[in-house]
Symmetry: C2
Subunit: 336 residues, 2 copies
């Protein structure tokens, strides 16, 4: 900025005023400053530009865990739509740590993003909720429900029907002792569990054992080992997360548990690991790319003043594969 | 800013001058403006703050394709180290499009990042190279070699020895017709190919068929199908990319090709899909988290003035699994 001032033969404060679009600047001054800016290749202060136009053309995306392939697909879906609409995207990653979400929101707001897409690690964290209240830009929540979140646009998945259908398919195969592994943020966790419980409630003889924990592979591996040691052992397992399921498969390989001979298995979210597994694993799928895309659309419509605050609900689907088999006639009563 | 000026009872240009740390501002004026900034919760203009301190405490990371799990692991490794050192990270994703890298570099530079980590889609793209020359902040290149890139810090993998070891293991099993699928940016592609070729050159009867293309699963699937149709068909295949290998496995499943009975298979980069495959797939592995971490360290040492521009080279390793088997005695000469 000092170089620009010297080149234009004016004071640094004049350069500030010109770049901030201040009204009491002579046309001659403005021209001299802008010519120096051009000649020196000085990059315009985007914040100052934002103060003039009210926009920086950039959207911030806070993601819980970029290592989860589902998250990465969501990012790509959102980015394509944003780019079409002329927006750049800046990403931050919270590494699944609830205490990072708030810092990421603050960072992006300070960098003057026009709006925020949020795939939060923990929707109930008080710092996150407070950071969101301070953020004055439009926000879209992706499959989360913050406390008192009325008035915030959302894209959510309807997890329950497909989770219930998946569980009913196990009941139809004769399974009565069913295990469920769930973890992570409240919204998908609670909805997925509710779908399973809804189906279980329809069958008087069915029982459900729930393991709640984190969403990591290590947690899936530990929970699967506990489940296999349970007496009586569940004959079927629903795993509400793709990374959790990686851990489950590692535990099964280590313990010599065969799918579906020893236990039937259903996971959530499709992946090469699930589809190319031998046998291929039944999954409750959802379209993460559409999820990101619709989130971007809701945000764009708010940014362009077209949109009321909306909620969009996307479907999920149960895809049955060979990881589920009928239970042997006596196994439900037998100690395994 | 206008609200701050009104609250402080000064002109907007005075607010600019105070926030820019301009020397010709009275102490009383400075206090009035800063009090108004406090009261109104006005967020400091980070660019202006950067002009004072020379720093914004933020590092930009340009990644080629966030959907690749290897890339995501690199990001997480870098982010942990940066966070320890007090830096925030802003990410941009190029979706594997060479024409996006330059735009991402420009965006991050405009947002006044202190330095850049670059995992580029294409190190030879002229716009990217030009954008890098214009960027005046410290830069670390991750496993890429830009033309005339002397003076740019780098973290690279030593791909050749493990690729040669992988290929020699196939030769030791009796394979003589070997296929290689490679794609993507020049540096890993060229180094991986050179390692394979080095081993092939050591065995006079060995021949290599190379398929070069993109790094997508679709490309892997198409190349695998062409390879299977080749006369005579290779008896072993080295796939230089984890996403490529997903496509190869899809093609093999579709065509009824068994691993290792019909073809031996080696991939690059470990993943749940490779480790949990039946049979588990031999891979050339590398530590992506250490890759990100060392990149972050090189950048931090430059930012803190401690570092000369350095190159760090990290090892790769061949991990043999059950996807490779001895060739049937006559198969090398036989038409398959």
């Amino acid at each position: 900025m000092r170089d620009v001032a010297r080149r234009a033969g004016v004071g640094a404060s004049s350069v500030s005023r010109v770049l901030a679009g201040h009204p009491d600047v002579s046309e001659r001054m403005r021209e001299a400053v802008m010519a120096a800016v051009e000649e020196l290749g000085y990059r315009p202060d985007l914040l100052a530009r934002g103060l003039r136009s009210g926009r920086t053309g950039t959207v911030g995306f806070v993601v819980a865990d970029i290592e989860n392939p589902m998250v990465a697909q969501t990012v790509t879906g959102a980015e394509r739509r944003l780019r079409e609409a002329g927006y750049s995207m800046l990403l931050t990653n919270s590494e699944g740590r609830a205490d990072q979400d708030a810092g990421s929101i603050e960072l992006l707001v300070q960098r003057s993003v026009d709006g925020l897409l949020l795939l939060l690690s923990d929707e109930e964290n008080a710092c996150t909720v407070a950071a969101l209240r301070r953020a004055e830009c439009p926000v879209v929540l992706l499959d989360r429900e913050i406390p008192d979140g009325a008035g915030i646009a959302r894209v959510s998945f309807d997890h329950r029907p497909a989770m219930a259908a998946a569980t009913r398919s196990l009941l139809a195969l004769g399974h009565r002792r069913i295990g469920l592994l769930v973890g992570g943020p409240r919204r998908p966790r609670h909805e997925r569990r509710a779908g399973v419980e809804e189906a279980i409630a329809s069958e008087p003889e069915a029982s459900l054992t729930v393991f709640e924990g984190a969403l990591t592979a290590a947690d899936g591996e530990a929970s699967a080992a506990r489940l296999i040691a349970a007496e009586p052992r569940p004959t079927a397992l629903v795993v509400a997360g793709n990374v959790l399921c990686e851990g489950v498969l590692l535990a099964f390989a280590r313990l010599g548990i065969r799918v579906p001979e020893d236990i039937s298995l259903i996971s959530c979210d499709d992946s090469p690991a699930a589809a190319l597994h031998d046998p291929p694993i039944s999954v409750v799928t959802r379209d993460m790319s559409a999820f990101g895309l619709r989130g971007a659309e809701l945000l764009i419509s708010q940014l362009e003043g077209a949109g009321a605050v909306e909620e969009v609900v996307l479907p999920t689907e149960f895809v049955e594969r060979r990881s589920c088999a009928p239970i042997a006639a006596a196994a439900n009563g037998r100690k395994v």
